[in-house]
C-alpha cells in the first residue's frame, strides 16, 4: 500500500520539436483526491495527462503514478489507471456490451460480464447494451466511455473534458457519478474548461499555461487572488459611512455601490462585528451581511491576465 502521493511529478516537461508544450510542472497528488487541471486550449493539459497515462514520454523531468515511474514502468502504470480521452473513441459498429467486452479483454478483467453489468447499470445504459454505439447520443457515448475507463477498477482515473458537449441533464449525471467515484477513494484527475464544474468537484486545482500558474484548493486560490470581501446591505448609505469603515487596520479597500458597502477584510469572521458596530453607531441600518463569493472563473481569468508576472502556487 502506497501511503505517499499517488502521483508525483518533478519538473515534468515535454516538447514537440521546438514547441515546449509542458514546462517543468511539479505537482503532488494525494490518494482519493479530485484534482483539476485547468488552462486554455494548448496549455498542455492533455499532454500532461498523456504523459501521466504513459502514452507520451517526458522530454525531461520525472513522474511517478501509483508508485511506478513513467517511461520505465509504463505497463504497470497502464494497469492502474483509467483514461477518458477528449473524444470517447468507441467502436461504432460494435454494441455497448461488445465495446466493453473488448476493453475488458485488453485489461485482462476476470469477471468481465459482472463488471459490464455493474457499470452499464450504474450509468443507466444497461437497456441499451445490445445496441450499436453508432445509434448512441453524445451523452450515452460519454457515459459508455466512462464505464470503459472503470472496468478494471483503476486506482487513478484521468478524465479529459468529461462533460464537454453534454446536455445539462447528462452533464449532471456524469458530475454526480464523478463525485460518487471520488467517494469510493479513487484519485481523479479532471481536465476541464468548465470552471464551475471544477469548483464543485475538485479538492485542488492546478492552473496551467504551459507552466504551472497556480496550485491550491479553489477556496484558497480565491482568497490568495481576491482576498475576502464582505457586503453590507444597508437601508440607506450616507456619505460618511465609507470613512467610518476605512480607518480599521484590517480593512484594505471600501467600495460603495447603491445601498451596499463592499469591504475587503483579512478575516471576516473576526472583523465583521467591529465593522457592524461602527456602522450602527454611525446611524446605519444593517439589513444583511454576506461574503462576496468570487467564482473560480474570476480566479482563472485573473491568473491568465497576470500569467507573465505572478506565481500564486
Amino acid at each position: 500500500m502506497n501511503n505517499g502521493p499517488i502521483i508525483q511529478t518533478t519538473n515534468l516537461s515535454r516538447s514537440f520539436g521546438d514547441i515546449l508544450a509542458v514546462d517543468r510542472i511539479s505537482v503532488s497528488i494525494n490518494p482519493g483526491e479530485v484534482f483539476g487541471l485547468l488552462g486554455p486550449n494548448g496549455a498542455g493539459k492533455t499532454t500532461t495527462v498523456r504523459m501521466l497515462a504513459a502514452l507520451l514520454e517526458p522530454t525531461s523531468g520525472e513522474a511517478y503514478v501509483a508508485g511506478f515511474q513513467i517511461g520505465k514502468e509504463d505497463q504497470k502504470i497502464r494497469r492502474q489507471i483509467g483514461y477518458l480521452p477528449e473524444a470517447p473513441g468507441l467502436y461504432d459498429a460494435l454494441t455497448a456490451e461488445q465495446n466493453l467486452a473488448f476493453f475488458g479483454a485488453m485489461y485482462g478483467v476476470e469477471e468481465i460480464s459482472r463488471q459490464i453489468k455493474r457499470y452499464l447499470e450504474l450509468l443507466v445504459l444497461w437497456n441499451s447494451r445490445h445496441e450499436p454505439v453508432a445509434t448512441f447520443s453524445k451523452g450515452m457515448r460519454q457515459k459508455l466511455a466512462i464505464a470503459r475507463a472503470l472496468l478494471h477498477e483503476p486506482e487513478v482515473l484521468f478524465l479529459d473534458e468529461p462533460t464537454s458537449g453534454l446536455d445539462p441533464q447528462a452533464a449532471r449525471l456524469v458530475r454526480e457519478f464523478i463525485a460518487e467515484l471520488s467517494g469510493e477513494g479513487r484519485t481523479i484527475i479532471l481536465c476541464t474548461h468548465n470552471l464551475d464544474e471544477a469548483d464543485r468537484l475538485c479538492d485542488r486545482v492546478a492552473v496551467v499555461n504551459g507552466h504551472l500558474l497556480a496550485l491550491d484548493s479553489p477556496k484558497v486560490l480565491r482568497r490568495k487572488i481576491f482576498g475576502r470581501k464582505v457586503v453590507f446591505h444597508l437601508l440607506e448609505v450616507k456619505a460618511d459611512f465609507e470613512q467610518v469603515v476605512l480607518p480599521f487596520a484590517f480593512v484594505s479597500e471600501v467600495q460603495v455601490v447603491e445601498n451596499k458597502i463592499l469591504v475587503s477584510v483579512e478575516d471576516p469572521e473576526k472583523n465583521n462585528p467591529a465593522i457592524i458596530r461602527a456602522l450602527v453607531e454611525a446611524g446605519a441600518e444593517v439589513q444583511f451581511v454576506g461574503e462576496l463569493r468570487r467564482r473560480l472563473e474570476d480566479v482563472y481569468l485573473e491568473l491568465m491576465k497576470s500569467a507573465e508576472g505572478i506565481n500564486y502556487g
Binding site: 497502464r78 494497469r79 483514461y83 473513441g89 467502436y91 459498429a93 467486452a101 473488448f102 485488453m106 470503459r148
Partner: protein, 263 residues
C-alpha cells in the same frame, strides 16, 4: 493470446460491416475462381485441342508436361496460367482489411483508448494482421479447392487435374499465399500510418500488387515460366521481405509516434 483473439474478433465485427470490405473479401476470390473455371470449361469443350502438340506450347513449358499428350499439356498450360491470379487474393484482401482497420482507428480516434490499455504494440499488430491474413488465406485456399474440384469435373484426364496438387501448386498456395498476406499487411500498416483515408491507403497499397500482375502478364506472354524453382525463389524472397517489412511496420507503429505524429 486472449488479447490477440479479442482484437481479431473486434476487427472482424467492425470491418465486415463495411460493405466494400465484405464485397472485396467475398467477390474477389469468387471471381478469381470462376474466371479460370469458365475458360477451362470452354477450352475442354473445344474441338481444336485434338490437333495440339507440345510444339504449339512455349518450349520451356512443354518440359513440365512429362507424359501428357499435346492436348492435355495445353489444358495443363491453361490451368497453370491462373496460379499467379490466385496469388493476388492473399495480398489484396489483407491490404484492404488492414488499411480500413488502421486508418479507421485513426479517423474515429479509437486508437488512444486502446493504447492506454496494457496491450503491447506487438499484440495489436499481430491481432490486426491476423484479422486480415486469416480471411485472405482462407479465401485463397477455398478458391483453390473449388478450382481443383471444378477442374476435376471438367477435365477427363486425371493426370492433368493431378498437376493441381503437385509441389508447384502446393508450395504456391500453402506457403507463398500466407507469405504474400504478411507482405500485404506490413505494407498496409506502413502506408496507413501516413494517410487519413482508408481508400487512399488501399490505393497506394495496390501499387504493390502490380509485380504479381506483371508476373501474370509475363507468364501469359511466355516471357517467364512459373515452375517449382520460380515459386521457391519467390517464397525465399518473400520470407526476407516480410521480415524486413514487418520490422519496419512495428517500428512505425509506436504508441508515442501514433499519438504525436500520425496525422
Amino acid at each position: 493470446m486472449d488479447r490477440i483473439k479479442a482484437i481479431i474478433v473486434k476487427e472482424w465485427r467492425e470491418v465486415f460491416k463495411n460493405k466494400f470490405i465484405f464485397f472485396t473479401v467475398s467477390f474477389l476470390p469468387l471471381m478469381i475462381t470462376a474466371l479460370p473455371l469458365g475458360i477451362l470449361y470452354f477450352a475442354t469443350g473445344s474441338e481444336n485441342f485434338g490437333g495440339v502438340t507440345t510444339a504449339d506450347l512455349p518450349p520451356q513449358f512443354s518440359t513440365l508436361c512429362g507424359e501428357l499428350s499435346g492436348g492435355d499439356c495445353m489444358l495443363y498450360y491453361i490451368v497453370t496460367q491462373f496460379l499467379l491470379l490466385f496469388m493476388m487474393v492473399p495480398v489484396i484482401i489483407p491490404m484492404t482489411i488492414a488499411s480500413y482497420s488502421i486508418v479507421g482507428e485513426k479517423t474515429t480516434r479509437t486508437l488512444e483508448p486502446l493504447l492506454v490499455t496494457p496491450v503491447s504494440t506487438l499484440e495489436i499488430l499481430i491481432g490486426k494482421g491476423l484479422a486480415g491474413i486469416i480471411p485472405a488465406v482462407s479465401a485463397t485456399w477455398i478458391g483453390y479447392l473449388l478450382y481443383a474440384a471444378g477442374a476435376h469435373i471438367m477435365v477427363d484426364n486425371p493426370a492433368v487435374v493431378g498437376k493441381l496438387f503437385d509441389p508447384l501448386w502446393m508450395t504456391a498456395i500453402f506457403v507463398v499465399g500466407p507469405l504474400l498476406s504478411i507482405f500485404g499487411v506490413s505494407i498496409a500498416v506502413m502506408i496507413s500510418s501516413r494517410v487519413n483515408d482508408p481508400r487512399i491507403a488501399e490505393q497506394i497499397s495496390g501499387i504493390f500488387v502490380l509485380p504479381i500482375v506483371g508476373l501474370f502478364i509475363g507468364q501469359t506472354m511466355g516471357l517467364i515460366l512459373v515452375n517449382q524453382q520460380f515459386i521457391l525463389w519467390m517464397a525465399g524472397i518473400l520470407v526476407a521481405l516480410d521480415s524486413i517489412l514487418f520490422y519496419f511496420a512495428v517500428q512505425i507503429f509506436q504508441r508515442e509516434t501514433i499519438l504525436s505524429r500520425w496525422k
